[in-house]
């Protein structure tokens, strides 16, 4: 065989590189295993947990590709390839549900974050430490209540016989179908989410506000900057990256429009504007037992959702230097 410098170099490299790197890996591993075995053993319970609770469900995701036979089980079901996916995209309600999910989700991301941002600025401008702390504590608490609780509150206020509507009625105004009018319902979702979460989202902005150098504010005040000027030129620009960070991270959860909230508050009359991907999967799968359709929708949502989370994390790393993981 003729001498071929390039392939011989490649051979040499391949003879050297992988061997040395594996032996490196092996010696390091042998060393760590001998001296710090416990570090590996400590990860073992989590590894087992991951295998059973997170990897094993992937096997059942194959439901998306079969015609499910309840008697024979998953292994005895006929493989149909992507037929179920085609069927799902042919369903008339699917586009509607994707649209609802995106609109409700976007509305929540922007309005909750804006409300939290503005609220944090107001608290920051307050001088009484007691009032500051009191307002902050009270407003953050609803974040820690479940949607069953907040849903109960919402229903006792917002149904046609709820206190809000009775008050409107007694003032001579028209009742609002917060939980019955399909055009109002998405706004009820966004509004109630904002009520529950704005105080909590302000916590992040308040943490960012503590990063402002007080000397900078004092210097600006000495130079004649009033409160408005200081707010607009120093305070807002310092906290704005946090706002961007939170909105970008919110995009990671764009397909989660608030499953538990919708499940508590909606009813069949509101499906056309209130049904979202998660509630659809739940109803299709566990109420109507159309396992294949529910699995397909869930799987597509997972893939797109995963890409969204990873891109959001990457983008916020690029834009603001902060990442979640």
């Amino acid at each position: 065989m003729a001498y071929d410098p390039i392939s011989s170099m490649k051979q040499q490299q391949s003879a050297l590189q992988p061997k040395s790197s594996t032996s490196n890996w092996r010696t390091t591993f042998a060393h760590t295993w001998k001296q710090h075995r416990l570090l590996y053993l400590l990860l073992l319970p989590t590894l087992i947990w991951l295998l059973f609770l997170r990897l094993y469900p992937f096997y059942f995701a194959s439901l998306a590709f079969v015609k499910y036979n309840p008697v024979q089980g998953l292994d005895g079901s006929e493989w149909v390839g992507f037929k179920n996916f085609v069927d799902v995209f042919k369903r008339p309600e699917i586009l509607n549900i994707v649209r609802n999910t995106l609109l409700i989700s976007l509305g929540k991301i922007f309005i909750v974050e804006l409300a939290g941002f503005a609220f944090a600025l107001l608290i920051h401008e307050t001088r009484s430490p007691f009032y500051k702390k009191f307002v902050q504590t009270v407003s953050a608490i609803p974040h820690f209540f479940s949607w069953v609780i907040v849903g109960t509150l919402a229903m006792s206020l917002l149904t046609s016989k709820g206190w809000v509507n009775l008050t409107l009625d007694s003032l001579g105004m028209d009742k609002v179908g917060f939980l019955s009018d399909k055009f109002v319902f998405p706004f009820t979702l966004i509004f109630s989410e904002t009520w529950k979460e704005f105080g909590w989202s302000a916590v992040i902005y308040l943490a960012a506000l503590t990063q402002i150098n007080p000397e900078l504010l004092e210097a600006a005040a000495v130079d004649g900057a009033g409160r408005g000027a200081r707010l607009w030129n120093i305070i807002v620009p310092t906290v704005f990256p946090t706002f961007i960070f939170m909105v970008v991270l919110g995009f990671g959860g764009l397909l989660d429009a608030g499953f538990e909230q919708v499940l508590v508050l909606y009813n069949p009359a509101l499906y056309s504007t209130g049904d979202i991907l998660d509630t659809y999967v739940y109803r299709m799968g566990l109420v109507n037992f159309k396992f294949e359709i529910a699995t397909v929708v869930g799987l597509v949502k997972s893939v797109v959702g995963y890409i969204a989370i990873m891109s959001a994390n990457w983008a916020s790393g690029k834009m603001t230097n902060y990442r979640m993981f």
Binding site: Y40, L50, Y131, V148, T152, S156, V264, G298
Partner: protein, 296 residues
């Protein structure tokens, strides 16, 4: 210290205080209304006469709810769930975070493990595969379904690992020279030094388990093993309340109990733990969250 003086600043302050007061009122009003409903007598609740003050004050709703066996049992289930889940979850989080945070000790496979952990926790295959796999694992209709699926939360692991990284490595080194094992270092040095972080995560975990209701509804067929919030959900959506408390009314023990009033009373049982806990650990939360953030 900046001193803003003058009438204009006074007006700005007045404006800010007023807006904050309005926000505060809008936070509290739903609870005040709910409290009024829970303390009002049957006729007035049914006729929707209750606004912000109780009408014909009665404690019958609390009496009926507090002696309702199914409700009290469901509270015990919730407490049991929180009591078992929180220590186990914290244990799993610290033993996972510790090896991942020991960057100074070369550990082949650490990065791969981290990547797998993030991938498998971010990529969840959906409700139906989850349901079927729990069924195959024998978790459905089993109390363990409340605890095991929530044992590891990647974000919490990352927060704690970052916190451990921030602690001085010299502590670990000198302990190792003294012959301490990693187990000792973790539980006698790292964990005690991480109180703010672990308090924050405990609060989140307590609240998460106390508030869970969907897992009860779908994974547990035996309604006697439902946690309190699952019971509340079924009361709220199935309109069963009138039936549930009819017996109390007709037996004459709590004659003034009403469906909406009983529901309101249950809400206050449900929010009580959070109202007690949150102000206590609030100061840890902000420091805990800020300390755990990744900065590149």
């Amino acid at each position: 210290m900046i001193r803003d003086r003058g009438f204009k600043n006074f007006l700005i302050d007045a404006f800010i205080y007023t807006v904050l007061a309005l926000i505060l009122i809008s936070c509290l009003l739903p609870f005040i209304h709910e409290l009024a409903v829970s303390l009002s007598s049957r006729v007035d609740v049914v006729a929707n006469k209750v606004g912000l003050l109780p009408v014909n004050l009665t404690y019958d709703n609390y009496g009926a709810v507090g002696t309702k066996d199914r409700f009290i049992d469901s509270i015990w289930i919730s407490l049991l769930r929180v009591g078992i889940a929180v220590p186990l979850t914290l244990f799993m989080i610290v033993i996972t975070a510790y090896p991942l945070s020991m960057d100074r000790i070369p550990m082949p496979g650490r990065k791969t493990f981290m990547a797998v952990l993030i991938f498998l926790n971010m990529f969840q295959v959906g409700l139906i595969p989850r349901f079927l796999s729990y069924k195959a694992l024998g978790l459905t209709d089993n109390f363990a379904v409340y605890i095991i699926p929530l044992l590891i939360n990647t974000f919490n692991v990352i927060l704690v690992a970052n916190f451990f990284r921030g602690l001085p490595f010299e502590l670990v080194e000198s302990a190792m020279l003294d012959g301490a094992s990693h187990f000792d270092i973790l539980f006698k040095i790292m964990v005690p030094l991480s109180t703010p972080m672990l308090a924050t995560i405990s609060l989140f975990t307590i609240v998460q388990h106390w508030n869970s209701w969907f897992d009860g509804i779908i994974f547990m067929r035996n309604v006697k093993l439902w946690p309190m919030q699952s019971y509340l959900y079924s009361m709220l959506t199935n309109q069963q309340l009138s039936g549930e408390f009819a017996g109390h009314r007709f037996s004459g023990v709590w004659p003034n109990v009403s469906p909406a009033g009983a529901e309101a009373a249950m809400v206050f049982f449900a929010v009580l733990p959070v109202l007690i806990l949150y102000p206590l650990v609030q100061r840890y939360i902000i420091s805990g969250m800020t300390l755990g953030a990744v900065k590149e």
